[in-house]
Amino acid sequence: MNRRQFVAALAAGAAGAGVLRAQQQLGGMASRGVRPQPRGKPSGLPFHARFTDVAAHAGLRAPVIYGPPDRMDYILESMGCGVAFLDYDNDGWLDIFLLSGTRREGPVAGATNRLYKNNRDGTFTDVTAKAGLVRQGWAFGVTVGDYNNDGFEDLFITGWPQNILYRNNGNGTFTDVTEAAGLLHAGNRWGTGCTWVDYDRDGRLDLFVSNYLVFDFDKIPPTGKSSSCNYKGVPVNCGPRGLVPERPMLYHNNGDGTFTDVTARSGIGAVTPAYGLTAVAADLDGDGWQEIYVACDSTPSQLFHHRENGTFEEVALESGLAVNEDGREQAGMGIAIGDFDTDGSLDVLKTHFAEDTSALYRNTGHLEFDDVTLRSGLGVETRYVSWGDGIVDLDNDGLPDIFWVTGSTFPELERTHPEIPHKTPRVLFRNLGGGKFEELLDGAGPAIAEAHASRGVAFGDFDNDGDLDILIMNINEPPSLLRNDLSGAGHWLKVKLVGTRSNTSAIGAVVTVTYGGKRQAQAVMASSGYLSSSDRRLHFGLGAAATADIEIVWPNGARESLKAVRTDQLVTVKEGAGIVGQERFGR
């Protein structure tokens, strides 16, 4: 080999040195490439909740159609949808509402949103057609609330290209009143998160809708048609980065069955556009007015603080809820509100993409939040794309646990990257007290480890046995219904609120229960998890406590206290009238 040959060979193979690889591997979503924290030694403490998927036995056998079965060519097909636990017929038993998608290629036989009536024996009957709810399209989010204060829960559904409002007629049927209510919007929009919220405290539920991005099947290249849409070198669906983000919307309830778009007037429309997903409303700073928090994908999340004059200011950055502790945006998907440290204030959990942690924010007062993800032990789990979540006491020990569902957005990936499967298990962290959590990889029943591509999740006690069960949306599969077969001696208390001066659903109320030296706050919400809606009856696990004190702050700011309430029962509290109903559930 002569000198020139040697040099030519070297020059051909020589590589520059730099940080380009990292720069060029950025995909379409915010993922930090975070490595998990080390796992500590297992506590060895018993966990008394055991979950079994009883969906098939319960009659929930129809798959939730969402795009092609083996690929996701467009981001629209990958986002999935929410689920709801609601009592649409006021019989005291939770019914189930499941959203559905469709396929671009054409309608799929049997694909529709579905309403299942609870038969009170562990099974459900599909009453979709009877209820007038048959509809096939791209549905995303659902919020449940009685917007016309007639005592029956109504349904608002976000979707692409339009949203839908179903009024509950009170006789087992629903009517699509979207147009009559003034909620049809011009053009196509991709509505995602939605929540009923009485932002002006006039006793009527207004409506907040977050929008994801500008979507058009004909303008966005499908998987494989754009070289810039790849993840770990594999062509995948495009977005959200690179696509046009949207602004949220706010509609004021006029009290006559119609709504007025107050997006601009309220200041909501002034926010920087973002990829908005789940939206929740709760009074996070205890000032009697609800904030609205939106999990935003790959853009800073948004927190709207009410100025008490009908307008909002966006304060997520100053509150610590916009970005992670290093100041970078995350791929916000689902939101849970709960009081994990039982200090009487509402904390926040937000789920994200894979190779990132979910974020747990501790409420330190005055609308300030501290990111305690790593301190709490949640940093051990970074493997999955995470979606619907909850801060919920699953074992009734008086300490709210953390649960979320997972599933990839890129089914193509597992063919070349078997370490990144499309279907992934559920994640459960048990609360050890002292602000610490421990992931339970097993020991909480077979349903936790079962793998699905899940999205929405709702929590509720469908069998009225005094614990929390879990309803989960799985893409192109039947839903999962995780029955909680709880053992142990933990007590519990359920609180159902009925508004009189406030909206009848009492959405926006905060209930604080004091028991065994702890104070736990929970909010009555119309939306939670990922684009979903949970049991309106608040469930408090109480551990060894035999009685509990209850403080209620109603949505209009009025306060009510109830002392030494007996546990292991559902109490119904009517605004201004105290406890009007008590029901003991049996296991």
Binding site: M1, R3, Q5, F6, V7, A9, L10, A11, A14, A15, G16, A17, G18, V19, L20, R21, A22, Q23, Q24, L26, R35, P36, Q37, P38, S228, L317, E318, G320, V323, E325, D326, G327, R328, T364, E368, D370, L374, R375, G377, G379, T382
Partner: protein, 352 residues
Amino acid sequence: MKWIAAALLALAAGICLAQARQPAVQQPGADAHLSRGAQLMHDQLFDAAAGEFEKALALHPADPRAHFQYAVCLLSLGRNDEARREFEKVQKLAGESRYVTYYLGRIDLLSNDYASAIQRFRSLAENPPYPDTAFYLGVAYVSSGDGNDGTKWLERAAKLQPGDYRVHYRLARAYSSAGREQDASREYSLYNKLLNQHKSTETEVRACADALRTQPISAAAQEVCQRMFDPNDPEKLTLLGQLYGDAGAYEKALDPLTRAVQLDPNSYEAWHNLGLTYFRLQRYKEARAPLEKATALRPEAYGSVVILGATLYMLGDDEAALPVLEHAHRLNPGDAQTTAVLEKLRAEHAKK
């Protein structure tokens, strides 16, 4: 990587002591694995890099450099407990090292052991091994609930790393928690400005790479890429030079890379890319000095060492080329071209 190289050089002093106590052992394979591991680390292929370090350690279990690089790699993989054990082995083999203390502090922080993290980082306060030591000390204090000390150290970190948006965000949060709204507002503004700059760099890099991919060396691509040109930012200049170089626009790469080495004379990436560019342009005289700088900064970087050897060889300085290519061969014994040239040089050397 620059920081790791600095740590390795510093550790070398300790290694000398350790080696002095042992019989001299010839381990050509270990160096090759270390070099390959370092390159894989640089390419963020941590699993593969760990494999190389394990092979190096199998050949030379008492090499603290190998334990150190392996430990850093394990930390990058999130295998923190194993990383801690490896760092502790480095301490046993090479004595106390502030670089090791720094990493053990980082692991403490990740493990929520704030007291230990504070103790370790505090011990480094006078002579910090890396610029972000103050930042992690501030974070440890804030996490432990000591907002006052946390703020103090984050303020120091902001002075040491004025361009790091993370530092300003954490400091803003600390001010906000302390009710210092005006200070918080100032830091949030800085954070926003720096983050936007960071994001626009990401966008510019992607746009330039795309433009060069579709229309290499065209005026249109150069117009897109010149948007990255910032005469005061060595990292952006290096990126721009590398993008041009990768696209074959070597002449265009020279200006940003020359500016980059002037602004940051300790940047291995800038020196390597500048030397490589001259080498590709067959301007061997001008390639020599930058490559010598690069190999001084990262003696284990096979890519730089072999190009320097070839440059010397092309300059006809065979005496100088021989030891450099011998070193390159130790770093990568599988390189057939280098082996062939080496054999030739050795034979000529023997004749003399």
